[in-house]
């Protein structure tokens, strides 16, 4: 039982960051109909930025986090302007191919820049875990979870409660009519992609210090993000959050009770099962972005 609680706690904590990874992707798919294969690279970009600022520049950890997210958003805006805008209106397959090309190029650029050696990021939190009754959790993980929840809540408010968020949702529901309302569709596209990219970078920046940082870390992250998005239903904001939490818990339970080798297979099995029975996602009826 204690072991079960520990796995559950680990799963929820991990799921918080997964949710962060998933909402960025689901937002981009939902509004832009772009399957963002660079999502994983923006994730590892965030992690490397933190590593670079902390290790190479001896910068403050929290400043590094902020910089990573901001630069991730800028990079995302650049990708949108240079690769996606010229292809707007072409088929989803066309943009998919371009995004795959960008993914390969970005990943190997990272490999070239940072080498394949995995790196650990130093963080200012105490090593000794927090023990609550039968379960324990490290301070850095608590911080990551809290930050993820905070970012998700802030994103939710932005999407739900602001004029910009309403315009984003309107664009998602009907691009042409949104243009008729005076929404600058180009700007919304760039901002949305930058926003989703910033969230991906944030996930990487937060999880980098928990795990280690290496150039291909984004591959699994991206694939997991896809699992989360499918689980929650493409474009479904709350669904992605719940999907992230579910994936986190399932992985921890799977690793704990089945085999740690298959931990990473859980997400894909979920994808396959969900698509088999509910192609629109588990939460198709729940509240959606739009």
């Amino acid at each position: 039982m204690d072991q079960f609680l520990q796995h559950l706690l680990n799963g929820v904590i991990l799921g918080g960051s997964y949710a962060l990874l998933g909402i960025g992707l689901t937002l981009i798919f939902g509004i832009m109909y772009v399957v963002n294969f660079t999502h994983g690279e923006l994730y590892s970009f965030g992690a490397y930025m933190v590593f670079g600022v902390v290790a190479a520049l001896h910068g403050n950890f929290f400043v590094a986090l902020f910089l990573a997210v901001a630069l991730g958003a800028v990079l995302g805006a650049g990708i949108e302007r240079s690769l996606l805008r010229p292809l707007r209106g072409t088929s989803i397959d066309t943009t998919m191919l371009v995004m795959i090309g960008a993914w390969i190029a970005m990943q190997n650029a990272e490999q070239l820049l940072w080498t394949g050696v995995a790196k650990a990021i130093r963080h200012p939190f105490p090593e000794a875990p927090l023990v609550i009754g039968p379960v324990s959790v490290s301070w850095i993980r608590i911080f990551v979870f809290a930050a993820a929840i905070l970012l998700i809540a802030a994103s939710h408010l932005l999407i739900r409660r602001t004029r910009l968020g309403t315009a984003m949702r309107a664009t998602f529901q009907d691009r042409e009519t949104a243009a008729l309302m005076g929404v600058n569709i180009d700007a919304i596209h760039t901002v949305t992609f930058a926003f989703g990219s910033g969230l991906a970078a944030a996930a990487g920046a937060l999880l980098g210090p928990v795990f280690v940082v290496f150039p291909t870390m984004g591959d699994l992250a991206a694939l997991k993000a896809f699992a989360i998005v499918i689980l929650g239903g493409m474009g479904n904001f709350l669904g992605a959050t719940l999907g992230g939490l579910i994936l986190g818990v399932v992985e921890e339970m799977g690793a704990g009770y089945i085999s740690s080798g298959y931990r990473d297979a859980m997400g894909f099995l979920i994808i396959i099962v969900v698509l088999l029975f509910r192609p629109t996602g588990l939460f198709a009826r729940a509240e959606r972005v739009g």
């Binding site: 798919f29 399957v35 690769l83 010229p86 292809l87 989803i92 397959d93 066309t94 998919m96 191919l97 371009v98 795959i100 090309g101 960008a102 993914w103 390969i104 190029a105 970005m106 990943q107 190997n108 650029a109 490999q111 070239l112 591959d219 694939l223 896809f226 699992a227 499918i230 493409m234 085999s259 080798g261 298959y262 990473d264 297979a265 997400g267 894909f268 099995l269 994808i271 396959i272 698509l275 088999l276 192609p279």
Partner: protein, 341 residues
Amino acid sequence: MRRWPAWAWVAFLASIPLWVRNQYYLHVLINTGIFAVAAMSLNLLLGYTGQLSLGHVAFFGIGAYTSALVSLGFDLQLAAGYTFVFEPRPVWLGFLAGVAVAGLFGWLIGKLSFRVRGAYFVIVTVSFAEVVKLVALNWVDLTEGPMALNNIPPVTLSLPGLGELTFWKKEPNYYLVLAVCLLSYAVIRRLVQSRAGRAFIALRENEALAESVGVDVTRFLVLAAVISAAIAGAAGGLYAHYIKIVDPDIFLFIYTVVMVIMVVTGGKGTLLGPVVGAVIFGILPEILREVARPEVQWIIYGFIMILIVFFLPEGIVPAAASWRKARAASASPLGAAGERA
């Protein structure tokens, strides 16, 4: 592209080992041939049915592992104390088993994704490939995991009158790969120029209209997936018995990307496109190897993919065809009619 008649091309390809004596060049050509088979198989799904399979390397790897395991034999610890022993079988049987098992997984994927198209199909196939990779890594009993399957026997054929023939050298392997290439090309050509192939194209062009005139789209998508996976499995089998070692890295996503680049560059939905793409991207790395590290090479691949989509979205083969048509039209006093004559 095809100034020469088909038999002249075959004769030319068959003559290569007679005048290319450099073993390394032959090795490059064999690799290129294996990739050409894989790219052709991907093209059947991507080019003809319009479904982007981003897990195609899974079928390749399944073919390689199956073929290797059948010819090596393996033991499995089943329940407590009981061990299932599989004796080594002839290589040709392993090869056929590889084709069959890959085809079976193709059927599974086709069935599984009967309701999903586009982005969802892509994600199902990527996920499938990842699961297969993790199984290859973790089912150590069967696959030796990261230790790899070693000493895979080369292809052996016993021909009546010729005795036993074992494919140790480059030359026989070249002919073997060439034969499989030609056979795959013939199978795909026959298929896409038939009623079945038209059903694939109908699915790509307009699914609702296809259904409304009586094309059972799901059935034909499954058929395309099975044949595509089986041919990819054949390529995997060739690879296993030529390289003689198979490890889970065979499932690396990057190999799927290479196949996609080959198909898209050459021209998806054309018969020759994937072959042209495979020749370019089979030989390009050998040129780039001299000047660039692997990472740089991959970065170049990524940029090529982007540039192709931006500037040559149809691919080389269709572009060359329309270029020739335009040139013929301007050169001939009859105008465009000259091309048809």
